[in-house]
């Protein structure tokens, strides 16, 4: 295809990296924010600003909460077409109850699945969700959008684009291209180790951009590779659903064998049976974990076939002390509390798989490693952003001479995805503090402000990058940096005004979720201001003669 191997690899790096880099930077940035998704939730939902709680007593707190639940309207509506006859007004046969928490969650998420009478597929359930205060069992407002864990987090793997799972596929392709870009980048680099520590801010803009691109790409190379790779592995079932399509018969054969082996019931007996104390089962599970030298809290608790003779309770450990995402599940007969099964120790392959997924999903308790992940993710963003800028810098004079707009378009898209993304994020947080408390569909409005602000930033980016076509610096960069600084400070101030939680108070109380989000935004504001100042300095004393001379030189 191209003249030689190295040029072919460079072509792949440049063009695939550019095209999917705009997706990757979104994935990296919101992935970085997702490291602290629970903390962002606290910032966005002030009612939930209290200390993380362990899994509460099932018998006293969870059971009454589950019993008062019903499936959501959306779930019932989605089911309507798959039922013979009308839907009942009240669903009274719960099949599955589940409660899930982590060491960072003050609130507890519950879900419940209900049997639907006359369903065409009797295994299909309708689902309800609730968030409770685990100290009292009281329901918390469920219409509040958990901006961190329900918007930023899914944004980083699905772009919140759910039509035909399109978002997942785009992100999947982007992750593959990330791997490709890393390998091709190493091939192009040549002096990987000799220039490992090289950054020359004093040299030409093109040179220092490339230095920074290489530096942030290479020092965090293991991080970049592992995160792109493990992200793909986590969603392997979506990208390559081999065992659910072509090999479905084999899969079913295995399921039958597996069910025989585990000995856990796979359907309701239809005979009611009262449940024994689940708290006693939890104590037994914790005793068994401690025996295996893995003492720990409960992360996930589930009841299958509620109040049925075949019912069983599964207790899973919260994986806070190791990378591998393992549950060490122990299953009890619900009516008697006897142990039905302990999950066997994982095989070697499972161990590797659990390590890889756990590495990405980070359920562990390690604040330093969390911050290092944020660092790695932001390095990825810098690497991508400098890649875009290098692309523009390398071509803008040539394009200006030839009257082409390629460099300008790329610069506008770079503004959109770098500073525009920050504008959108901050707009959402500002809207979160400004929208009235009882506004119907409040969460939707927050999302509209996110996408709306991003669109505006994009429009601004395209309008204010015209000088790039004349080989100059786009004013859009500086203006959006200023916008970011102003909005970040606004968000922090609004948090103070609307909740009274100013930094002095949150820092004094050591309430890090809110203090951390505020400090992060303020740091961002300072960096944005510094950047704007530097861009302003570059802008002013730029005599036309110089640019012409440079253009001639190029």
């Amino acid at each position: 295809m191209m003249q030689n191997f190295r040029l072919a690899m460079a072509w792949v790096h440049t063009w695939f990296g550019l095209l999917l880099g705009f997706v990757l930077i979104v994935v990296f940035f919101f992935g970085s924010l997702s490291v602290f998704d629970r903390e962002i939730d606290r910032w966005a939902i002030p009612e939930t600003r209290f200390e993380p709680q362990p899994m509460p007593s099932f018998d006293e707190i969870l059971r009454p909460a589950f019993e008062s639940m019903q499936p959501t309207e959306e779930s019932v509506a989605a089911m309507r077409g798959r039922v013979d006859g009308p839907m009942p007004a009240h669903f009274d046969t719960p099949i599955r109850w589940g409660a899930y928490t982590t060491h960072r969650d003050p609130v507890l998420g519950l879900f419940a699945g209900y049997q639907v009478p006359n369903a065409k597929n009797p295994d299909e359930l309708v689902w309800g969700n609730r968030t409770i205060d685990p100290r009292s069992g009281d329901a918390l407002p469920d219409d509040r959008l958990k901006i961190g864990s329900r918007f930023f987090y899914p944004l980083h793997y699905s772009l919140n684009l759910h039509w035909m799972d399109l978002g997942y596929w785009i992100v999947g392709l982007a992750a593959l291209v990330m791997l490709v870009a890393l390998v091709t980048g190493v091939i192009m680099h040549r002096k990987l180790f000799r220039e490992l520590f090289t950054f020359r801010p004093g040299k030409s803009k093109q040179r220092s951009l490339l230095d920074l691109h290489n530096l942030t790409g290479v020092v965090a190379l293991p991080f970049h590779f592992m995160f792109a790779f493990t992200g793909l592995v986590i969603f392997a079932g979506i990208y390559f659903p081999v065992t659910h399509t072509q090999l479905e018969p084999l899969h079913e054969l295995h399921e039958v064998l597996d069910a025989e082996e585990t000995g856990l019931p796979h359907e309701r007996a239809g005979k009611p049976a009262a449940m024994a104390s689940v708290d006693a089962m939890v104590r037994e599970a914790q005793r068994r974990w401690a025996e295996r030298d893995m003492a720990g809290e409960v992360g996930f608790l589930a009841v299958q076939y509620v109040d049925d003779a075949n019912g069983y309770v599964s207790v899973y450990r919260a994986g806070t002390d190791r990378i591998a995402l393992t549950g060490e599940g122990i299953h009890f007969k619900a009516s008697t509390g006897e142990v039905l099964r302990e999950d066997p120790p994982p095989s070697v392959v499972e161990r590797v798989d659990e390590f890889l997924t756990g590495l990405h999903l980070q359920h562990f308790r390690h604040w330093m490693l969390r911050w290092l992940y944020v660092f790695g993710g932001l390095m990825g963003c810098v690497c991508l952003a400098t890649g875009f800028l290098f692309f523009v810098e390398k071509r803008k004079r040539q394009h200006a001479k030839r009257g082409e707009s390629g460099a300008r378009v790329v610069d506008a898209l770079a503004v959109t995805t770098v500073t525009g993304m920050l504008v959108a994020t901050l707009a959402m947080l500002v809207a979160n503090r400004l929208l009235p408390d009882h506004l119907p569909g409040r969460g939707d409005w927050e999302q509209y402000s996110f996408w709306g602000a991003w669109l505006l930033a994009m429009a601004h980016a395209f309008l204010r990058t015209a000088p790039v076509a004349r080989a100059r610096l786009a004013p859009a960069w500086r203006e959006q940096c200023l916008a970011v600084a102003v909005m970040a400070v606004t968000a922090v101030l609004l948090n103070w005004v609307t909740t009274g939680d100013h930094l002095l108070r949150t820092l004094r109380d050591g309430y890090w979720p809110v203090a951390g989000v505020d400090l992060f935004m303020l740091t961002g504001a300072v960096i944005a201001l510094l950047a704007a100042r530097r861009l302003g300095l570059r802008r002013r004393p730029l005599p036309v003669a110089l640019t012409d001379e440079e253009a001639a030189h190029a």
């Binding site: 593959l176 065992t243 090999l247």
Partner: protein, 98 residues
């Protein structure tokens, strides 16, 4: 950038070979891997997970190879043909097991 001495059609075909041809090849490899390893006595889940992990590394390699290989027809033949062949083999193994 890297000087392109090729037609637009060739370029599109090259990209399609890497993305789509690569996908077909990896699909086939994964199907054959799962069915084959299961037939050899590995547990189904282990075979599934192991192949999922290897799949993306294989994808990475064939993706790069599709741009590095000189003969594009050969790339298509190996990726699409090989992928189809492996898928058929996987189905045959499955048929024999059930």
């Amino acid at each position: 950038m890297a000087s392109l001495t090729v037609s637009r059609f060739h370029l599109v075909s090259r990209v399609a070979a890497a993305v789509l041809g690569g996908y077909l090849f990896v699909w086939g490899a994964m199907a054959l891997g799962v069915a084959g390893l299961f037939a050899l006595g590995m547990s189904f889940h282990d075979a599934e997970h192991l192949c999922a992990m290897l799949a993306f590394l294989v994808y990475l390699v064939v993706f790069l190879w599709s741009f590095a290989a000189p003969d594009l027809r050969r790339v298509w033949l190996i990726l699409a043909g090989g992928g189809a062949l492996m898928s058929v083999l996987a189905s045959l193994i499955q048929h024999a097991l059930i």
